[in-house]
Symmetry: C2
Subunit: 262 residues, 2 copies
């Protein structure tokens, strides 16, 4: 019997993973989202998925249920879920322990965590994404492994603890770095200048950091202890107290870490 998937949540992660599994021999038969138009948009990326309007899957033909709702919604959605017997329930979160899925009152549950950032507007090569999987039972772990292996060449078993450590690091290395780039972009654009001019510098910064390690690659006024430059930048940021606060904190930390205390 072919495993069939019901998909719960139609955000950025589902947008990429559901079609990948659908194409890899794990047909997605049902899609649920609180926001019906999101469910409709996702179902259009799938071959034979119907939209379901509530979380009662007692009569579902699926044996695998994949949650791609936001981390905070996982406990609540899990409590509302009604699953058929012998269902396998997986979430795709880096930071939520699989024990949270115990609310669903089934035996087999686990995680299928793609260590990648997804946005609907950008295609990602799912087969390159590192997946971290975990199961409450051998059966659950095996099934999670099978699913991940069907769509990616990089799969490892990782505990909830390990996943959460990587997830926290990813927030620093990706979410926060992206945010700082957005501050740089808005600053430059407010001055009528062109953010694209900074692209080669950004690319080189990242390539160097990945090659030599970020700590060895640190440069800049705070790293060098250029206090006049730092003071000048803070003066330029007078009109932007929130950017000034970021600048001050990050510069202080860099100076501390690299022994540039004054």
């Amino acid at each position: 019997m072919k495993s069939k998937i019901s998909w719960i949540g139609a955000g950025n992660v589902g947008w990429h993973l559901a079609p990948a599994l659908d194409n890899a021999g794990f047909p997605v038969g049902e899609v649920y989202s609180r926001n019906r138009s999101h469910a409709e948009a996702l179902s259009q990326r799938l071959y034979g998925a119907k939209i379901v309007g509530n979380l009662d899957f007692a009569e579902s033909q699926s044996d695998i249920f994949i949650l791609t709702v936001s981390d905070d919604a996982i406990p609540e959605v899990t409590r509302e879920l009604v699953l058929p017997e012998n269902a396998l329930l997986l979430h795709t979160s880096g930071s939520v322990p699989i024990s949270t899925l115990e609310y669903a009152a089934i035996e087999d549950f686990g995680a299928l965590y793609p260590l990648q950032t997804f946005s609907k507007a950008r295609k990602v090569r799912v087969d390159d994404v590192p997946f971290m999987i975990e199961g409450s039972t051998d059966k659950a772990e095996m099934m999670a492994f099978k699913l991940a292996s069907a769509i990616s060449k990089s799969v490892q078993v990782a505990s909830s603890e390990t996943r959460s450590q990587y997830h926290l690091a990813a927030v620093f290395a990706c979410n926060f770095t992206n945010y700082l780039m957005s501050k740089a972009e808005s600053w430059v654009e407010e001055k009528g200048l062109d953010f694209d001019v900074l692209h080669p510098l950004i690319v080189e910064t990242i390539q160097k950091s990945l090659q030599n390690g970020p700590s060895a690659s640190q440069t800049g006024p705070a790293r060098r202890g250029d206090i006049n430059t730092i003071a000048k930048h803070l003066e330029m940021l007078n009109e932007k107290p929130e950017m000034a606060a970021l600048y001050r904190l990050l510069s202080d930390k860099i100076r501390e870490d690299f022994g540039q205390n004054m």
Copy 2:
């Protein structure tokens, strides 16, 4: 008559720019650094440079003097400099206005600012680096343009004000992002995990940000308003108050900017 360069300062920028100009028809004849071993190391990358021990260039055969000292050292070094008549003095700083070079009591001075990050350990394609140049006189601007054009295909005239705006943006987009990656690295490594696992995620984050713009590309717990995840991360960071402070400030700012106030 061929222009000859004296190089003052032997840090990361000089390490890459001096050989590039030396090879491009602007021979570097002299190298000065407060740290003599740095001057020696740089001179070994050049064809016929001798090391000089002080800043009195009254008898120098050079007509171009390039300062690659730290931003903070520029005023002091400029005051100490003794230059021959008709010398051109250039610094390579993003944040220091060229007016600082008036201390040298010459007419022709300016900036030759490479918008790139340089480390000795990593080769950079200088011809891809965007140079922003400025001159106190038409002659100075023309010479700065000539020098930059000899080593790069991307040269633009930019005022001290424009350079400093880009430089401030670059600190956010590059120095600070690199620092956050170093925090992610040390966190993962302290837990006995492998920072390399995060590489595909970092690369995708940057590529997406450059393609779609960082603001449109923002993801993560703060962007989604996952307050439980944020609380859990802060708890994990209990042992690292300085990382917790960064986490809190950046998450608060993201939530404010993206309307995820609670």
